[in-house]
Amino acid sequence: MAIISNAVTIADAGSFSLPLGALTFIKSLTVSGASTGTLQHGSSSVVFDSTYPVYLIKYINVFSNAGQNIAMNFTIDGGSNYNAAIVSSTWVAEHAEDDTSVNRTSYSTGYDNHNSGDQVVFNINKGGLLNAGDASASGEMYIFNPSSTTFTTHFMSRANSMSEYPGSTDNFVAGYVNSTNAVTGIRFHAVSGNTLSGTFLLYGLKDG
């Protein structure tokens, strides 16, 4: 960028900088009754490579048609398959609207992974989201250095959901893609073949 006034260069290219902020919007993906929602590098203006060292995905009011869990997986073969081996741990805090039937923190065996496939990001520990018109989940997931070919790719997710107790579930998921291939995309879907609705916002965190 250059700023020139009356033929006098005030600031030349590169010497003039503005505080642009480190959180950079990349893509908004809104799905409504779709089988999947995919963010794949190089497709539909999605950037998911070495451009950013950290990526952040925001879930905004995501739900499935039958109140089922929402799961995700990564691709390490350029989008041909979303079936990377994941090692992860999960836990929840959950509380029913009736106050007493459920109020606990619990490690969620059965929702963790050990070199296996799809990772549920919500609703963990109970069969699904509440199947009601006002129910959904919102939250976020960080993905660290997905283009690395030296290290496995780590991710951390937290989301709050209206679960089928009915009640509130605070879902915590963290783990890694157990591969040194570059991760170039992520796909979300509702389990059991149900449809997916909601908005996924992809951001990159600038490196300086």
Partner: protein, 208 residues
């Protein structure tokens, strides 16, 4: 921002914003406590934006120091701050370690969660008021202007807890405002006494 050359305004305040990428995390408002009974962010008041402009709002609270030992809390409003009494179902769990090394652990807090209650949500219980004691953290509020979904939120506080042996407490709280009306104000306060000092910053996350 203004850019002025030889007395001539080249770019006026705000005019540059439309043409320059500014990053996706947008600072909206900072409130500074000074023996404050409450700190309130009301859409349309004192330059606060808390509507459909952003799909996610983030509150960062920094060195909240109470006048007396009490609970740091928050609540939501759907009537522009006339009442802060939205029905909520929430979870709360925390990890802790005392300064003398005793009693480290992690526990679900049945006294800190809410079940269809209009009470204020506890963000830090027994927040210390010693000279060097305070609490810090963040609160995410999702899609507050949505009129079809409940209002999901989640937050984390790290603070100096003053009861017993004193120590470091981390609280993870999450839940939903069980309303499909638009939320347009958020209020923070101590359960008793004032907020002696501290900052609460409101940000919007650009969805495009």
């Amino acid at each position: 921002m203004g850019l002025i050359s030889n007395g001539t305004t080249l770019l006026d305040a705000g005019a540059i914003d439309s043409g320059v990428a500014t990053g996706s995390l947008i600072h909206i408002k900072t409130l500074t406590a000074s023996s404050s009974g409450t700190l309130s962010f009301v859409h349309g008041s004192a330059n606060v934006v808390l509507d459909g402009t952003y799909k996610e709002y983030i509150f960062k609270y920094i060195n909240i120091h109470p006048a007396s030992v009490a609970q740091l809390t928050f609540n939501l409003s759907i009537d522009s701050g006339s009442n802060y009494n939205i029905t909520k179902t929430t979870t709360a769990h925390n990890s802790y370690m005392n300064e003398n090394g005793s009693s480290p652990g992690m526990v679900y807090r049945t006294a800190w969660d809410l079940a269809q209650s209009t009470n204020f949500q506890i963000m830090a219980q027994e927040l210390g008021n010693g000279a060097d004691e305070s609490g810090c953290g963040y609160l995410h509020l999702y899609d507050p202007a949505n009129t079809s979904k409940v209002k999901q939120f989640m937050g984390t506080t790290t603070y100096h807890q003053t009861f017993g042996a004193n120590g470091s407490f981390q609280v993870y709280y999450g839940g939903y405002g069980n309303t499909t009306s638009a939320v347009n104000a958020v209020q923070f306060k101590m359960s008793s006494g004032n907020i002696d000092s501290g900052l609460i910053k409101l940000y919007g996350v650009k969805p495009s």
